[in-house]
Symmetry: C2
């Protein structure tokens, strides 16, 4: 069918499609996706982001995007911000705070169509921001998108580690290569006295790295500037701080 042809052409034009997953919510997937894309862009790669978190699309906010994408011959023209091509279901909601009340089958269809019907063009990297859990979105992205790998994000504490293992379990079953793990919110440095506080514990990244035999690609501290960047719509990497993106 014509859509199969479209998907082929999309995949041929995109060198690497990498999903960003965690199992647990609120660990920093969207923040890492945004800043990783920004890092890739800064060093000269062409990058896109597909926001597959249909119930909580935060990528538009993290890039300060308020406008809606245009359609050309029934294809979606991604919105370009800081030179990064972005498509999110969040663009299709009238009000930012409206919720999509869809059950599984509709969600799955929406994700594959967002991928197939977007005019990504030539890309070195397409990052796919996943929602928490191992439900329809994860299964659809793992089964229907030609993924080259998945990056697992965890925070140091045990509840995140067990959910990250669940996510890895899902991707192993889906035969998707796990590229590595990034530990986020590793510690908070009190600005007054430079002391480190393990607010969310420590060692989660190492535990996942050992358990899955994958590289620990980086540890990112809790920094107020990182959160601010997400709220004002400008990834911190663009604000002159070098996010340890040894993921490259």
């Amino acid at each position: 069918s014509s859509s199969l042809k479209k998907e082929k052409s999309n995949k041929e034009k995109i060198r690497n499609i990498i999903a960003v997953a965690s199992g647990k919510g609120g660990v920093g997937k969207s923040t890492i996706t945004s800043n990783l894309a920004a890092s890739f862009k800064k060093i000269g790669y062409s990058v896109g982001i597909l926001d597959a978190d249909i119930n909580g699309p935060n990528i538009p906010m993290m890039f300060g995007i308020k406008e809606r994408p245009e359609a050309i011959d029934e294809m979606i023209l991604p919105i370009e911000k800081y030179g990064i091509k972005i498509v999110s279901l969040g663009f299709l909601m009238e009000e930012e705070s409206n919720a999509i009340l869809w059950r599984g089958p509709l969600i799955s269809k929406a994700i594959t169509e967002l991928f197939e019907y977007s005019l990504w063009g030539e890309l070195d990297f397409l990052l796919v921001d996943l929602p928490p859990g191992t439900g329809d979105e994860t299964l659809t992205v793992g089964q229907s998108l030609p993924l080259d790998g998945v990056l697992i994000v965890t925070t140091p504490q045990d509840v995140s580690v067990v959910d990250a293992k669940r996510s890895a379990y899902a991707f192993n079953k889906l035969n998707v290569k796990i590229l590595g793990v990034v530990e986020n919110m590793s510690y908070f440095i009190c600005p007054e006295n430079e002391k480190e506080y393990d607010i969310f514990g420590s060692g989660g990244g190492e535990k996942i790295s050992k358990y899955l035999n994958i590289p620990l690609l980086g540890k990112i501290p809790i920094e107020i500037e990182i959160r601010k960047g997400g709220d004002i719509g400008e990834p911190i990497v663009f604000l002159n701080q070098d996010l340890k993106s040894s993921v490259e």
Copy 2:
């Protein structure tokens, strides 16, 4: 059908069924559910928890539960810890780190069955811990369980506030009464100098309270002891700290 009869008897025996939702993941729903249940228990109410976060069931870990529930005549006997009756899909997984790879319809069926086929007995409160998002779990709990209300949890920053609004939008559509909002991770008090740091911003609770015209029931600071309680399986309320549970 017999299951309808069962559901009736469950609802007749349970005085209040309250869902705990947030839209965004990692804001503290499971922590608040666990500590709210503990607070209710401490003041003499009979309490149960239904962990409806099928892809990331963290309630068993937060109560340090390792054993599996027994079944009596095809009914599930909830596990009782600290006097709180707990049922979670997490109990049905062989390994803690196995993931449930179910799509929407199976998830929905599992949630209604966990509610209907558990021997809750007489309860003053049944708290239902929801996963993030407004997908199948939220829709099923809102449509199939006789909810008396929902408690919204947010953290102070904008991305949480917009997801909390999406969650409220969903519950309004489902005609479920929104009881109030709890702001979690409101600030971090640096133990050295007692200074407060708005790591995750400020004002999210007030914004939701004003936007939805619901009471702001409490603000909970970031405390390392709260996270430790979750990791060691003992809600902090039992560790002698009084979690501001003016929700009662």
